[in-house]
């Protein structure tokens, strides 16, 4: 088949080599550039509570810190700018912790969200919580910056319960892991 690339040869070699845990990590190092990983759940059941879903009858849950404003059970909370799934704040966890009984996914996707109180852009890690069935509370889907699955690091439809004992998805957190250099983003 003239006209086909050399990639086939490399591809065949790669298949022969197999895919070990080590090569998986190598792949991560090699291909995850340009952005970070987003995962899980799409298409909010938009129905009643605005375009992003959410809303469970809960009373608002505030951090109590004026520098971290907003209702953490609402899809509009600033940290959730790229979240996709059930909010752990409604499930027994918090904005930054998984509910008891779950395991936090070690592989994560991140987004950059601007805190309206201090104007800073924070790097938010959306770790999934795994091993318990769908929490069912506060479904939320925001897709700013989301891209098709051809760019997995920017697509939030993957189930990122991957490095965990079980791939069953319960809810998603939004953990502050740093401040973005370009605060205005």
């Amino acid at each position: 088949m003239g006209g086909f690339d050399k990639w086939t040869e490399r591809l065949t070699r790669r298949i022969a080599r197999g895919t070990s845990r080590r090569s998986t990590l190598a792949w991560l190092g090699a291909t995850i550039t340009g952005a970070a990983m987003f995962p899980v759940l799409p298409v909010a059941r938009a129905a009643s509570s605005g375009p992003h879903g959410g809303g469970s009858g809960h009373a608002p849950l505030h951090s109590g810190n004026p520098q971290d404003p907003g209702d953490q059970t609402s899809c509009d909370y600033w940290r959730y700018c790229a979240i996709d799934g059930f909010l752990c704040s409604c499930c027994g966890g918090s904005a930054s912790a998984c509910p008891p009984g779950t395991e936090m996914s070690p592989i994560t996707w991140v987004g950059t969200c601007t805190n309206p109180a201090d104007g800073r852009a924070y790097v938010i890690s959306y770790n999934d919580c795994c091993g318990v069935s769908s929490c069912g509370q506060c479904l939320c889907n925001r897709n700013e910056g989301d891209r098709p699955q051809v760019r997995p690091q920017a697509n939030n439809d993957y189930n990122w319960c991957l490095g965990t004992a079980s791939s069953i998805y319960n809810c998603s957190t939004a953990v502050i892991i740093g401040v973005a250099e370009d605060a205005a983003r």
Binding site: A97, C98, G101, D118, S125, V179, E181
Partner: protein, 396 residues
């Protein structure tokens, strides 16, 4: 894990994952010179060693996926953060909770291909501070009774060292499980009788189809060593009792479909009816009459008062339609003390053991309401903290 996540973050779109201390602070950061601190990964919310008295377990039967039922751990004092965790309760499961053992137990059924394939029945033992499974006991024979969840299908005996579990194939029996040895130690055949009411130190009673109460005393090996029938304690045709009573110590208060309260004493080796059954009475506003209605219609508080979920549309067949009021009764004085108007039709009620007891109401629309048990006043809504189909409220 942490460094891996940070590595991803650093590679992401040229972001630097600098800590708060290192961050430049442009003018617009105004009143907040320091950035919010980094938060640890991984992080799992912790539960207290002993659950507060405001915490209850609400069974979500999950009609739209019965095989994926759950028990919600709910802090009824918090409108902001009522859900504290979920425990799996698969396929017509039953649940037991023991603060003494520090455990939640679920009796469940699984298929190897979710809906088909090989069946496995197990009792799963969950640690009540981590909500992680710490063991399981496989129940052989595929005979575990599957019903819409009744508490009295799975009960403790022998000082919570054993559990009793109902089987139905439709042959009826009760399996005796040694929880610490992690095994089934005996099976008591029980033709014509149903539900399990722990009785005495080591035994149980069941109601039987002929209207009798059958009590079994178990030996140290779990085998039946004696039994006793008390005849004609239950008029199944005319005064059928809801199978789930309100427990006050070893006394179980049952209510009938027509609103009669009947106590049973299960403190000795033989269960026996208490004298002095009484009717909750009538009231205005009925069409045609007030009767209990719902799935868990009776609850008790620590002071000895009973609470009964009542519907004004009582008639033959209305007993699962839910209720719109809770009637409070004193089983000693045999009188009705109060009527509590609910905000919506409800199917299950429970009363906490707090200093100021709270009435927990699982509504037919899935919302959970909290009322002050003494005044009846509505206190707060817990939203859908009980899941899709909350049908039982368990006060540990």
């Amino acid at each position: 894990m942490r460094s891996f996540a940070l590595a991803l973050a650093i590679s992401a779109a040229g972001l630097s994952a600098t800590s708060a201390a290192e961050t430049a602070k442009p003018a617009q950061k105004g009143a907040f010179p320091a950035a919010l601190p980094e938060e640890p990964i991984p992080a799992i919310a912790a539960l207290p060693d002993a659950w507060p008295a405001s915490w209850v377990l609400i069974h979500d039967f999950h009609f739209n996926s019965i095989l994926d039922g759950r028990v919600m751990l709910v802090d009824t004092s918090s409108a902001e953060r009522p859900v504290r965790g979920m425990v799996r309760a698969a396929q017509f499961a039953n649940m037991l909770v023991s603060p003494r053992r520090g455990e939640v137990l679920t009796a469940e059924t699984f298929y190897s291909r979710l809906t088909q394939g090989e069946r496995t029945d197990v009792v799963t033992i969950w640690d009540d501070t981590t909500l992680l499974p710490k063991g399981e006991i496989v129940l052989p024979g595929g005979k575990r009774q599957q019903s819409v969840t009744y508490p009295q299908l799975f009960q403790f005996t022998n000082g919570e060292k054993w559990a009793l579990i109902a089987n139905f194939t439709p042959a009826q029996s009760v399996s005796v499980i040694d929880l610490d040895a992690r095994k089934v130690i005996s099976e008591i055949d029980l033709p014509g009788c149903a539900q399990i009411y722990p009785t005495g130190e080591r035994g149980f009673s069941s109601f039987c189809a002929d209207g009798s109460l059958f009590s079994v005393k178990l030996g140290p090996d779990g085998q039946a060593i004696s039994s006793k029938v008390v005849a004609k304690v239950h008029d199944i045709d005319n005064q059928p009792m809801f199978g789930t009573p309100a427990w006050q110590g070893r006394t179980a208060w049952f209510v009938t479909y027509r609103g009669r309260i009947q106590g049973f004493d299960f403190s000795g080796d033989v269960g026996k009816p208490l004298p002095g059954a009484f009717d909750l009475g009538s009231a205005e506003g009925a069409a045609p009459e007030w009767r209990p209605g719902g799935w868990q219609v009776i609850a008790g508080d620590a002071a000895g008062k009973l609470y009964v979920l009542m519907s004004p549309n009582g008639r033959e067949g209305s007993h699962k339609d839910g209720g719109s009021e809770v009637w409070v009764a004193d089983p000693v004085k045999k009188t009705r003390l109060a009527r509590i108007a609910l905000r919506a039709q409800a199917v299950a009620i429970g009363v906490t053991r707090e200093t100021r007891p709270q009435l927990i109401v699982a509504r037919a629309d899935g919302e959970i309401d909290v009322h002050d048990a003494a005044s009846g006043a509505f206190v707060r809504s817990l939203g859908t903290a009980g899941g899709a189909n909350p049908i039982l409220v368990t006060v540990p």
